[in-house]
Symmetry: C2
Subunit: 317 residues, 2 copies
C-alpha cells in the first residue's frame, strides 16, 4: 500500500474503494416522489448521513490512513479540525490501531470534542485562528512523529471521497449529473473524477451557499479565491478550496450553483419532513439548488450526495 | 375480494400483503451498532417511518379499502381520527378512486387537516369528544352511504398491519421477538398473528407509555381496561384497546412493557442522533423498553417496528 501522491486514475479510485469497503457503510440510495415532482426529474439521494461518523468524511480518512506504509503509520496521524474530519480521522486511526491527535479550536462545541474522544483520539485546544491551529499542529507533529492528514487537499482523501459517487454510479449507472456540496472541494473533486473516469456519462456539479461562494468565484476567475468571512448555517462549507481540489474542479466541473441561507434551511426542513431522515445544513445545499430551479445541467436523472447528518434538529433554526 | 369478517389465518395475512404490495413501500430494515451494544442483542429496526403517509397505518387502510366489494366501495369510506389513520384512509381511497370522509376534532392541528385534504379527503370538524365524533360520523355515513372504517378494531385493518412483521420475518427469519407500540392494538395484534401463524419462532411483545398503560393493565386483568386521561407525548397511543385486538393480545402476547415519558424522549433523541432517521414519539416506546433493561423476553435477535415518523423535531421537547 502506497500513499496517493499524484492525481488518481480510475484504478486508484477502485483501489481506494476496495481498501475502505470493510470499514465503511455502503450507504443506501433513497428516492422521493415529492422531490421528483418538485424538481421535474428523477432524484437519487446517496445517504452519507448514514455513513460511519455520520458523514462521507469517513471514506477519505479511512483511505488516507489505510494507504500509509507501516513506517509512515507508526507515529499515528494528526489533523486540525472541529468538524467531521476530526471524527473520521479518529475512527480511521482506531481501525488501523494507531494513535490520532486532533488540534481543535477552544470554541468547538463540547459534543464535538466528546465525539472525537469517543473514537479514541487525543485533543489539544488552541485559539480559534488558522495560525494557531497550524502552529500547534506543527509542534505536536514534532513531538509525536505523527503524520499530518489534511482534511481535503490530499490525493488519498480525494480518492476516498470519490467512492460515494462510485457506489452511486454502480447502482444507477445512467445518471446524467451528480450534485455535491463544496467546502474544501474533497467531495466534489472525488465525485468529478468518478464521473469523468468511470464508464457512465454523468457529470459532477457543485452547490454552495451564496454566503460562502468562494468555489463558484474561483471557478469563474480561473484561480483560487479565498473564503472571506463566510457566514452560513452550512458549517461544513466554510473553508477555501484546496490546491489539488481546484486543479480537478477547473478541469472537470462546469458549474457551481449558489443558494441563499433561507433556501438551504427550507430544503433541509423539507428533507426531514418528507424523507424522515436527518441531514445537516451542508447536505441541504445541493437539494436547495435543485428546488431553486437554477440548475441548468442535464436533468433527467440526477444524483445528490447527502454529505452528512451531524445536526441537532432541536437546536437548528 | 371480500372484507375480512373473522380472525385472519396465515393465508389471509399473505393475501393482505399481496393486495397492498403495489401501493405501499417495502420499508428497509436498519441496524445500529450503538443500539446493539447498549441492549446487548442484535436489533432489527423495521422503518415504517419511511412508509407511505409516514406510518404503518397505510398498510391497514389499504387492505381495508382494497378488500371492499365494488358495491361496498361505491359510497366511499369514512373515519373519525386526527392522526395517521385519517391520512392513511384518504391515501387508500385515492388509490381505489372512491371518496374519503374524515371527521376531525376542531382542536386538530392545521397541518394534520392540510395533510388529509392533500390526499383528497373531505373533512368535517366537530367538538373534541368521542360522543361528538361518533355522532357526526353516523350522520355523515347516513348522508353519503360511505362505509365506516375503524382505525384498529377491524380484522382487515389488523391483517393489513401484520404485513410489516411479515416483511421483517421474511428478511430476518430467525428473530426471537418483535416489539411494537400499543395504542388501539392494531399493530401489535397483526404482529402477534404474523409471529404465531408464520414459520419462525418469534413472539410479539408490546410497549406502552406508563401514562397510557391501559393495554398492560388489560392484559393483566384479563379484560379491556379503558384508557383514562392518558397524558403522554406518544400521541399515537392514547386510545383504548379494540375488542378484536384484545382478543388476539390475550391469546398471543405474553407481556406489555411500560416506560416513562423521560425514557420515551431519551430513546427518540438517541434514534435521531445515532441512526439519523426521524421517528415520532410513539415509535420510540419499544426502543425505550429495550434501553430500560426491563424487557425479559428472548433476547438474542429482536425486531422493533418503528411505527411512524410524523413529527416536527423543532417543536418537540
Amino acid at each position: 500500500m502506497v500513499r496517493q501522491d499524484r492525481r488518481p486514475g480510475y484504478e486508484d479510485l477502485l483501489a481506494a474503494h476496495g481498501r475502505i469497503q470493510p470499514h465503511v457503510h455502503r450507504t443506501p440510495v433513497m428516492t422521493s416522489h415529492y422531490f421528483d415532482e418538485r424538481v421535474g426529474a428523477r432524484i437519487y439521494f446517496k445517504c452519507e448521513n448514514f455513513q460511519k461518523v455520520g458523514a462521507f468524511k469517513a471514506r477519505g480518512a479511512c483511505n488516507a490512513v489505510l494507504s500509509l506504509s507501516e513506517e509512515e503509520a507508526t507515529g499515528g496521524v494528526l489533523t486540525h479540525s472541529s468538524g467531521n474530519h476530526a471524527q473520521a480521522l479518529a475512527y480511521a486511526a482506531g481501525i488501523r490501531g494507531i494513535p490520532a491527535y486532533v488540534v481543535m479550536p477552544e470554541t468547538a462545541p463540547q459534543v464535538k470534542a466528546d465525539a472525537v474522544r469517543g473514537y479514541g483520539a487525543q485533543i489539544r485546544f488552541c485559539e480559534p485562528t488558522l495560525e494557531a491551529r497550524e502552529r500547534h499542529s506543527r509542534e505536536w507533529v514534532a513531538e509525536t512523529g505523527a503524520r499530518f492528514v489534511h482534511p481535503y487537499d490530499d490525493w488519498s482523501i480525494i480518492a476516498g471521497q470519490s467512492t460515494a459517487a462510485l457506489e452511486l454510479l454502480d447502482e444507477i449507472p445512467d445518471l446524467d449529473a451528480i450534485l455535491t456540496p463544496v467546502g474544501g472541494g474533497g467531495l466534489l473533486a472525488g465525485t468529478a473524477l468518478a464521473c469523468v473516469l468511470g464508464p457512465g456519462h454523468a457529470r459532477a456539479f457543485g452547490a454552495e451557499p451564496e454566503n460562502a461562494d468562494d468555489a463558484a468565484r474561483s471557478l469563474r476567475m480561473g484561480e483560487i479565491q479565498p473564503s472571506i468571512h463566510p457566514r452560513t448555517i452550512a458549517d461544513g462549507l466554510l473553508t477555501s478550496l484546496g490546491l489539488r481540489n481546484f486543479e480537478v474542479l477547473k478541469d472537470e466541473v462546469r458549474s457551481i450553483f449558489t443558494v441563499s441561507e433561507e433556501e438551504i434551511l427550507t430544503a433541509m426542513h423539507l428533507v426531514w419532513q418528507r424523507m424522515k431522515i436527518l441531514i445537516e445544513p451542508s447536505s441541504a445545499v445541493p437539494v436547495a439548488v435543485l428546488l431553486s430551479g437554477r440548475f441548468d445541467g442535464p436533468a433527467a436523472r440526477i444524483g445528490v450526495i447527502l454529505s452528512g447528518g451531524n445536526v441537532d434538529p432541536r437546536q437548528t433554526p
